[in-house]
Symmetry: C2
Subunit: 504 residues, 2 copies
């Protein structure tokens, strides 16, 4: 069979079109098929139309063609989907039975090879949510995720820092990586783009330099600069995990603990990480709402890390409000640079040296509890800033960029205090909503700066927040959200005044 | 918008086609939509093609058009799918929390109204599989299933018999209904067509009479004849349950206990049943592999029945082998008629009078433990046969049909004993496989007759099984399965002879 890209058949679903002469539309087994093009394979739904494709052709909608790298008239093979061996293994959980290492490997192989339908993958993912995996199963899941896809290899141990997500304004990686690299350790950090938060580390770094590098490029550059900050999504790390996330977890808003652990540690395994500090933001509005939850998850991370050969130390971090003042890619990049120059906010400086210090201790460059002091020295000495310039240059950015050179949105407005009071809370959820209205993280220049933070006393009409937008309409929508979302909570305020009985 | 039936776009998936002018193919929210035509609503995937539909038209593939009763140029409304309120309720089970009655009603409403995707429905169904519902939740699920769809109402209590599936050759309903109706009780039995077994009660009855009747027809005919045997699938009983079965349970091979109970009892609630005898075939190859499982499920059925106002008595029945000798719609209809004429196999006779007897006891027509004697009297007196003729006539069949008038497949062959021995086991699974090769239950004339049953001693080459096929190719395939499946297990046989070391 030959491929045909269908300009006139548009869908984001995984559907291909055959001519009725090439299959029996009434046979239900032909409705689901495995399509292979070059090295790629995908499970697709098959529809039939004489008008859209000639006999002998497999028609691909444009989005799917792009995903598979299909051009017209390339050889394609299409076969009825094999009944997956692994589905019987998934069903063991219907009877609450454990999965062996071979079981998990078999399931993940079938997901990798596109032998499982979304429903069957959901049965697997929901088994993990409902049944809770044992430590042994989680260990095997971690190794299993790391098995498929890209493997980065280095001739020395890799150090890394990772955040268990969920908090706005977390630009500390841009400070930690140069500190650790300046100390001589190897830290080629792969990071993600934001999905629901205003800016991921990769989005922020992209303001300063390129972040898309191949495995070969990273393996060549990182040993020289000692540090990099790149986008991991480009690298095909743990692709089975990515399929589960995009097809099941995201549509269902699902995030089972064992997959959180396996997802993070498998990517670390695949990138050669041997020592890892995990930033675990804890508090309302984060994944870890209570300290007890944070501690429990941390213990599991340490144990699974031990089992797969990664030294893990977790730091439960304060996350009642954003770290620093800046939110949004450009503004965060600016704040990170300022911190490296010694003039950033105290919270960014402190969190960065604390987490970097843990890695320095793991490397025996400092005694226990003394790592943050060494990290602080490196930062204050200007060596971290020099290292960051080196990294930016190696990643094709401008090493001499100054914070004030970074462009931000030209439409600005302020949100002011509606009463006198102490700021008792700043809502992470409200920040995310405002950032979404501004178009972050795609709109790199958009964002906001918190002018006052929790604990401070403000008088009525004091500016609390400055918003930066790239379009006037964005600014208006963001302001409307900011004014309606109780983003700042002021103690002593009047929440509501009632002067009449409610209308029924 | 107007509908268009697309002769040249063939799929069994739920897909509609729009002209790109009527939506934005790049907007992911337009890829999933609710389509409403007349009273019917469905959640569909949307694809775009200028070639297939003009602006202002919604194109339906033929199978979907048929399902929705769509003809070309009918008004259709299509709207982006609403985010379901109920999904947050489903997610309560991720934290192992109970569902209230309102919770369950809200979820089922959203399934009924096509607000949930298959993945979200899977999260619901798998929650029930993994988490096990409480009795209260199962009660609410039962009432919830019964809420939507058709309700049959009668001016008197309805009696019913139902089998918890999974056994071949179970034609006893065709004997029980006329016995109970002859005793004066109202028993309008709705039954199913077979999915994986050789013949469902509706398939077997259809050999003798029509089985598709509207709710109004049943409400009119049944009070006169006292009994009917109709196809329930025609009636839109508990449609939410049906959606869960066809979209989730069947593709996943899933059958959680709470849904087994709710599925059966909800249909009984919707048809006005007040007294129910449940046939629970127990043994290897059935749903209830052990007696302990059968007893446990029976207790739950009785309790949920009590809570929803149905008196339930369960009979765990012997199911190590088929009841009677005949398998397949025509052969089973023949055997049921023979039993009503007093010349059927003992196992069919016994099982029928035992189960009918329980209903007679519930109606106080016989004292406890004496019901089967009364049922036996009714059967032997010929009153049940007369009643069956009356029912067949009322359902537009030929009341004077004789067993030998029923046509069966003209291609026949026998399977013979491969050794001397006692028949220790007849495999239900093998019977199902053979029947599938013969095309049962669609091929009504195909089937098989067991010439000897478990416990009997047979000598080598004794005919054990006679197969009836409507095509020679079917016969060959069925024979091949019969000879390779160890359908009959003979004690003392040589299973395998080994004269060389295995090749590695």
């Amino acid at each position: 069979m030959k491929s045909k890209v269908l300009k006139d058949f548009d869908t984001n679903d995984r559907i291909v079109v055959l001519n009725p002469a090439d299959g029996d539309p009434r046979d239900p087994t032909t409705q689901l098929a495995q399509v292979s093009v070059a090295q790629k394979r995908l499970l697709v739904n098959v529809v039939f139309s004489e008008a859209l494709v000639e006999k002998g052709m497999v028609g691909f909608p444009p989005a799917l063609a792009k995903q598979l790298g299909v051009k017209s008239k390339k050889p394609v093979s299409i076969a009825p989907r094999n009944r997956p061996q692994s589905y019987d293994i998934i069903k063991k959980k219907y009877d609450h039975k454990p999965w062996t290492n071979d079981d998990i490997r078999c399931i993940l192989d079938d997901i990798y090879n596109e032998n499982l339908t979304d429903l069957e993958m959901a049965a697997f993912t929901l088994a993990i949510q409902y049944e809770n995996l044992t430590m042994e199963e989680t260990e095997n899941l971690t190794k299993g995720f790391a098995y498929h896809g890209t493997q980065l290899t280095f001739n020395e141990p890799v150090y890394d820092k990772h955040s268990v997500g969920g908090i706005a304004g977390n630009k500390v990686s841009l400070v930690i990586v140069p500190i650790v690299a300046a100390a001589g350790l190897l830290i080629p950090k792969t990071s993600s783009r934001a999905i629901t938060s205003p800016s991921g580390t990769a989005d922020t770094m992209e303001v300063l330099a390129d972040v898309s590098f191949s495995a070969e490029e990273i393996q060549e550059i990182a040993p020289k600069t000692r540090g990099m900050i790149v986008w991991g999504g480009h690298l095909n790390l743990a692709p089975v995990d990515s399929k589960i996330i995009s097809r099941i977890e995201r549509p269902l808003g699902l995030d089972p603990e064992s997959i959180i652990i396996a997802s993070i540690l498998s990517k670390k395994l695949a990138t050669g990480v041997k020592h890892l500090v995990l930033d675990m933001p804890t508090g309302p509005g984060t994944k870890l709402e209570t300290r007890a939850k944070g501690t429990s998850l941390a213990h599991k991370f340490v144990e699974i890390g031990r089992r797969v050969g990664i030294e893990v130390e977790c730091a439960l971090t304060y996350a009642d409000q954003p770290v620093g003042h800046a939110i949004g890619p450009a503004l965060e990049a600016r704040e990170a640079l300022e911190t490296l120059m010694g003039k950033g906010p105290r919270s960014v400086h402190e969190k960065s040296v604390e987490l970097a210090g843990i890695l320095l201790e793991m490397a025996r460059l400092a005694p226990k509890r003394e790592g943050s002091r060494l990290a602080d020295e490196i930062l204050r000495s200007g060596k971290a800033l020099e290292k960051m310039k080196e990294i930016i240059e190696a990643q094709s950015g401008n090493p001499n960029i100054k914070p004030e050179d970074i462009e931000v949105g030209q439409y600005t407005a302020e949100v002011r205090a509606y009463a006198d009071g102490y700021i008792s809370h700043i809502s992470n959820t409200a920040i995310k909503k405002i950032a979404r209205e501004l178009g972050c993280p795609v709109n790199k220049k958009a964002g906001m700066v918190l002018l006052h933070k929790a604990g401070e006393f403000v008088t009525k009409d004091t500016p609390l927040l400055r918003i930066f937008a790239t379009k006037e309409s964005h600014l208006e929508r963001a302001l409307s959200v900011a004014n309606n979302s109780q983003m700042y909570k002021l103690e002593g305020m009047v929440i509501e005044r009632i002067s009449a009985a409610p209308i029924d």
